[in-house]
Subunit: 334 residues, 4 copies
């Protein structure tokens, strides 16, 4: 019944969600410290959640003796530095995806983590912990896998925030498709060996200025011969649409073909309609809780956590290869 004492660094939108979960929704965790670049923000969240230790300096939070584990929800570029602070202070680490903004930085993270084999490190690819994905994983039977298809579409309703963040996001492949790259690696149990990525600026021409597209896709051939296709878009009229399909020789599993936010069907002059999730935080609400539960359990039992640092490096590397293929419009071999 011992609760893991977690300090969180970064309480922006997603960080706040994690903070609430750690404080109130995960049985095995306790939120004991909060750090944010804005001390006011850190104080406000701390007051709301009844946390007394508030920091402006990440290193200070990591060195707080009451903190047993650190959750890193800062901007991507600072992840590896934060991992270093935390591990050097002997703390377990949960780090949001993506691991880092370059493959080199990912390798640095590997070194830090390898130097602390007794500390748990877990990367926040939360989709793996979603109820539907876990059911699908259990249903995957023996038999060859033929195709994995992944969609990640953001609703056009949140495009303003997306455009604001886009220049710092690393682009579609690093910021968004990395989720699908992780799913493809996880579900196929294999690595891509060839890929071709394409796309364009269909609605928002400004992506051109960032050497990016607002909608992109990629076809991959894996080492075990499974095919994989992903599509990422920024302008879905109907909502937040993350869909994954696994086609095998014994059957097909489709996850979230219609990403409905409830079990309500509305029959009106528009026909019979189901409404969709309008944002990713609502969509993955339970998965964000489950992944922290898993992290706590790994710490409690000493079990190795997955996804881990190598998943971070590999997905980042593939995402960069996708971007290279997209920019050169050439098929690439990994």
């Amino acid at each position: 019944m011992k609760k893991l004492k977690i300090g969180i660094i970064g309480v922006g939108r997603l960080g706040y969600e994690h903070a609430c979960n750690i404080a109130n929704r995960v049985p095995g965790s306790e939120l004991v410290a909060i750090c944010d670049a804005s001390l006011d923000r850190a104080k406000a969240v701390a007051e709301e959640l009844g946390v007394t230790a508030v920091y402006n300096d990440p290193k200070a939070l990591c060195n707080d003796p009451n903190v047993e584990a650190v959750a890193i929800v800062t901007n991507t570029a600072s992840h590896v530095e934060m991992i270093g602070y935390a591990m050097d202070a002997g703390k377990h680490v949960f780090c949001e995806k993506p691991l880092a903004e370059t493959v080199e930085k990912c390798k640095e993270a590997e070194k830090i983590i390898e130097a602390h084999p007794d500390l748990i490190f877990m990367l926040g690819f939360m989709r793996r912990f979603d109820h539907s994905y876990r059911i699908a994983e259990k249903k995957m039977e023996a038999g060859d896998m033929i195709l994995v298809r992944c969609y990640s579409q953001d609703p056009i309703s949140i495009i303003e925030g997306t455009l604001d963040y886009a220049p710092r996001s690393g682009g579609q492949f690093i910021d968004m498709s990395i989720h699908d790259i992780d799913l493809i690696r996880w579900l196929t149990g294999s690595e891509p060996k060839n890929l071709w990525a394409i796309g364009g600026c269909y609605e928002f021409k400004q992506y051109k200025d960032w050497d990016d597209g607002d909608n992109v896709s990629c076809l991959m051939q894996c080492e075990n011969d499974a095919m994989a296709f992903f599509f990422a878009g920024r302008a879905a009229a109907h909502g937040s649409h993350v869909e994954t399909e696994i086609v095998g020789t014994r059957g097909t599993l489709r996850i979230s073909g219609i990403p409905t936010d409830s079990m309500v069907e509305v029959m009106s002059s528009h026909g019979v309609c189901r409404e969709c999730y309008q944002d990713f935080i609502t969509r993955w609400h339970d998965a964000y809780i489950t992944e922290i539960e898993e992290f706590c359990d790994c710490v409690a039992t000493g079990r190795k956590a997955a996804p881990g640092v190598y998943d971070g490096t590999k997905s980042t590397n593939i995402a960069f290869k996708c971007k290279e293929s997209f920019l050169s419009n050439k098929q690439l071999t990994l």
Copy 2:
């Protein structure tokens, strides 16, 4: 390969549909004569469909020696008279539902048909011939039937025509629910022994003047203890919604839970929507063809047709009991 030569009486909206099917879509039939109260209408349809024999007088069509069978698609009040003309002239008869506007008239029809045991008589409860209903019927397994639930909702988009016809229609139970009454008898293989019907004028107050409701429902207890519930409405926002559910001790079959007019899903700001049938002729297009195919096959093989005249009498009798229960707000025993 001999085609059954059919003459049709009544080429209004549904009569025209039957005429086209008999002429062009049913392999075993040929349209050889047309009669309508409006001779101009009869001539126009005849010209379109390449039919030379045109009549204003139903008796004359029935006596046309080239006519082997007669399809009756006139108003309900004239059905029995037309059946008499046709059978007296030695012709097989396909007659639209409902059989007649009173139970007494139904009994007259029984007498006429009993007097001509060699002639085929079939009543047009087309739902029994719909592809989905036939699949459901085949899937019904041994085991006790618990509940049949039937919905019949007309779209509000066609309310003007509905209101025009309402005073002559016999009311919701005779005109509309009779389809569900037939389905309940057919699917349970039993007859109601107790029933209670209720309803009201929820949107169109004028139904009050006709001692009727725009939305009505009825709970029935059948002789074999199956329960049955039907609901009939005139104001569905989303379209023509006919749904039937069969709950048994071994499983449940739901037919047309969402009565979609195609396999298209539209993802837009309204959510993920499927559009519904907007009128009954489109919904039952194939069933109207299949029932005439069945009629032709019964004539060709001498097989007795179903539904037959007793189905007409029984469903009419039940519909009148429903109306009596609705008007008295009392549970009735049959």
Copy 3:
């Protein structure tokens, strides 16, 4: 940020669920005391959840000065007594449904609660707090309500436990349909004025011995003329199927037409299948949390809680009328 200190009486299957929620999943609550008829059970749960105050005597828990509110999850027959203990000790009360096993007992509960106007009382009709039902409630627009249809089907897979409990359950109407009776009252904002209930023993003949049916249904006419139909069954092959439909003059809302337990579609030789919830605790997991959140918020703000004691009396009264109608096979007026 003050957490409401709750003591729970009864940690059987559902009580344990509530205990876990109060302890770990509801931000505003803290589990401080546990009482169970089995002291061993109480101790085991207390140890798991880190609770130190353990009781065998409900009165003792109620008098524990550390307890601010009491959650009653005992058998129905003891509810009113427990409410008395708690309120006499000045504690707020959350009580599981149904309120009591007779209408007279419900009236007693009313008196106790009326005598303590400053204490919050809330009855556990958790369906009102389910995400989908809340969305449906928000979508209900002005315009007359025509029909509410409610299904409550338990999966046949849990029939053994159901049969064990059946003799003490009060029967289908009191134990199971009371949920739908509450939904009908809540959704129509009206009370039934006429009803007719039927049913039978379709699969499990032993219900006959308990003057009950394994499958029952009821048609109701409400004071505002809305129609309501409910169906309750114990033998659904596919899972726990709770479905509610609201037909209005401006559109229809269907909640949980297919009660799927995830967003996974399985394409196999069985067709395209979605699996359903296999038990009510999983189905209503989030609703059980949300209702306790609401209870805590009512205590914190002094807001009156709903559903309240009169909802308990009224639903119980209607359920008994349903049973009377079922046993006499007569339509009844309330």
Copy 4:
């Protein structure tokens, strides 16, 4: 009301379907002559459908003065020769897909057809005439198209016939994916400029011997920047699964996401299941009728038919490029 007198060459499985449609289900057509490599087969079908002119020699059928138009449903390798016979005899031509087995042969067909500008030529890409595809086409709004995704999966239940025909079929791209290639060209209104095709032998290793895969996929970039992805498989457990999705900047249309063969949902221990089409003839039954109606209307009105010969050449050319890409595992530019 004049009916187009059609002679058919080839009455195998699909030819027989066309023959029945021409004879009995298309109002504007009449079946007047039948030719088949097997004279016995031709005679049997002729007797069943009441056709008197029976041929073993295609040229003889083409020269029958009673024949106004010829439907060619022979093996692909003979299509162009048949087109020549028919057009040289002054007959309109409906020809099944694919147009020919090589691009060179397609060019020959172009020359023949260009030499007879007054004769109607139509190629049998029936999917364009399916009710759902036509509805989708009408719903496509202004706005840029982002992605077209096409699935064509045959059920594993028919694999024996598929394997028999496979060596003569031209392979997955020519035989099967050509439908999706046509859909992509039709829906995007553009031509692919870059493509990469991959695949393998996941279940049926014998495809290796034919330089083919049992499951293949292809990513394409179109001249108008639309992306297109298709997947073709031979081993779907659940049925005949043809699905198409059109993602645009204003919304998404998904056609046949679940290719259900009826509106029946079965609730059983397998969950809530919908069964799928088990063969392509049932799936496209109505589309096969509609395309012949369109052909007759083009002949009657002198309107140019689509899809035409150039659609045949272009789709064949693209299919060969896909095959080349698949065999070389290289991205290709067209």
